[in-house]
Assembly symmetry: C2
Homo-oligomer: 297 residues x 2
């Protein structure tokens, strides 16, 4: 049976009662499990991690979009993280033996339903994209909510589903399919966002840094700290500790230090064991070496 | 139901076919699982990790002692690790909610049976020790196999079970009960055992180093490397990465570097996640953050 992860990113990270309603709505589908809720008030953003069968996730996501459109008004939303929609982006990820095609099919089905039911423009991205230029989220998101009416005036930016006009309070939404990624942030001991942005540029693949690493620099006003926010899209190419060590080095070259890190959502067990293996200089560290796993396996 | 770990240390680490027979014998008890086999030819020693109910482990251990006494001749054994017996030491460890008393009872029962069946002198150690001076393995083992006839001539060193004379080929055996420990070795880029011994002295608790750390220094002739061999008897007091970082620092002060490490047997999941947490500067890392655990939990 097909089994997917779904990681909706919502433009609300400050009101706990709204976040609770969003999380409850997303948990409603049959067979769906809510694995993690990560909110950040400076990003003003919440990332939910769901897992379940495609039909259950479809029902969960419809309920989530309905709740998000009722609760979130982007005209009154501010946050350091770029966003185009109340439900900013909804990626489906194949788990276990499930093929990527199942994640693409789930994205298309959800996109069509959401466009119809809520009159919301929908863009398909990554593996679900219908043209190469829509693959990359950064490009799709360019202009953000405020700039989207102008962007959409260009017929080249007509949505894949739904009306060619921005929803007044919910913007647009990006739905797609991709492989598993690890969202991992490093917080610096400086309030200078320019340092975080410079570190991000040196670390990310698109400007010549580490393979399979995406990175942005932000200022977290509530904490008074700058942050390097990363997506590791293939931890086998660039393991978590490799990415962090590079951030540490580049930050130190600019006079800053990493004070702590954040893992948003979940990471594959192998990627976490990889951190322990790298840190300990162990040639190998299999899950069975952990007492509890050895006993239960 | 009581559930124990048992970690017999055997004085054979070079002959794969003998190690296989020892491991098979140890797996024979009902409900017993063999979780790990770690052999080292320089130590000439094998550590088996077993888990199961007390009765199953008792049967496994009797089979293991019988096989070990048939296969191992200490008069022809050499290795860098100190040893007093063919089955050098057999600790029982309570798992889960099992009380320490169950591990002590298992040690006493095994000690009595082994002494009777094989005419082998048995010493009880750690939590099973009957006098304070027999608690510490290092003191019990002093003199090793070759020195034990002289040691045993002193009535203060009469065994807890069995005859007061060393078995001609199997020496004596030490049986006991203790809490879980992590056996962790660091291999240095030097062939100078004196450096490893100096590092071990600076790292271990008994000479003023880190709490809950025991350490010895060895030379591994087959690899041409010196090794710091550690037992971490409470990873909450001294986490694995803390111990390793101290070894790295002390080794570097003496002009050597750690080239790789070894984890012998198993380690609690929490201790491994602790390594990842420490290495990543993550404030928290719960097992549920690992995708596979989140899905199965």
């Amino acid at each position: 049976m097909d089994f997917l992860e779904c990681v909706p990113n919502l433009s609300e990270g400050r009101r706990p009662e709204v976040i609770a309603r969003l999380a409850a709505a997303a948990s409603a589908g049959p067979g769906v499990r809510l694995l993690d809720v990560s909110s950040d008030p400076d990003h003003n953003r919440t990332v939910l991690t769901l897992a379940g069968p495609p039909e259950g996730l479809h029902q969960s996501l419809l309920a989530l979009y309905e709740t998000a459109l009722a609760e979130i008004d982007l005209t009154r939303h501010d946050g350091v993280h770029p966003r185009v929609g109340a439900v900013d982006v909804t990626p489906f990820v194949p788990l276990g033996d499930t093929p990527m095609e199942a994640a693409v099919a789930a994205a298309e089905r959800l996109g069509r339903a959401v466009a119809e039911r809520f009159a919301l423009p929908v863009y398909l991205y990554e593996r679900a994209a219908r043209t190469p230029e829509r693959r990359r989220l950064a490009i799709l998101r360019r202009g953000q909510f405020e700039g989207f009416p102008a962007k959409m005036a260009d017929p080249a930016w007509a949505p894949d589903f739904g009306p060619a006009r921005v929803h007044p309070t919910a913007g647009v939404t990006v739905v797609g399919a991709r492989f598993f990624l690890i969202a991992f942030n490093a917080v610096l001991d400086t309030d200078d966002a320019e340092i975080a942005r410079a570190v991000a540029r040196r670390v990310r693949e698109s400007s010549g840094g580490l393979p399979a690493v995406r990175a942005l620099g932000f200022f977290l006003a509530r904490r008074g700290r700058a942050q390097v926010s990363m997506n590791l899209v293939d931890y086998r190419q660039t393991p978590i500790l490799t990415a962090l060590d590079r951030v540490r080095r580049e930050a130190e070259a600019l006079g800053a230090r990493v004070v702590e890190t954040e893992l948003i959502g979940l990471a594959p067990e192998e990627s976490i064991l990889g951190v322990a293996r790298d840190a300990l200089q162990l040639p190998e560290l299999l899950p069975g070496r952990m007492l509890e796993r050895g006993l239960s396996g």
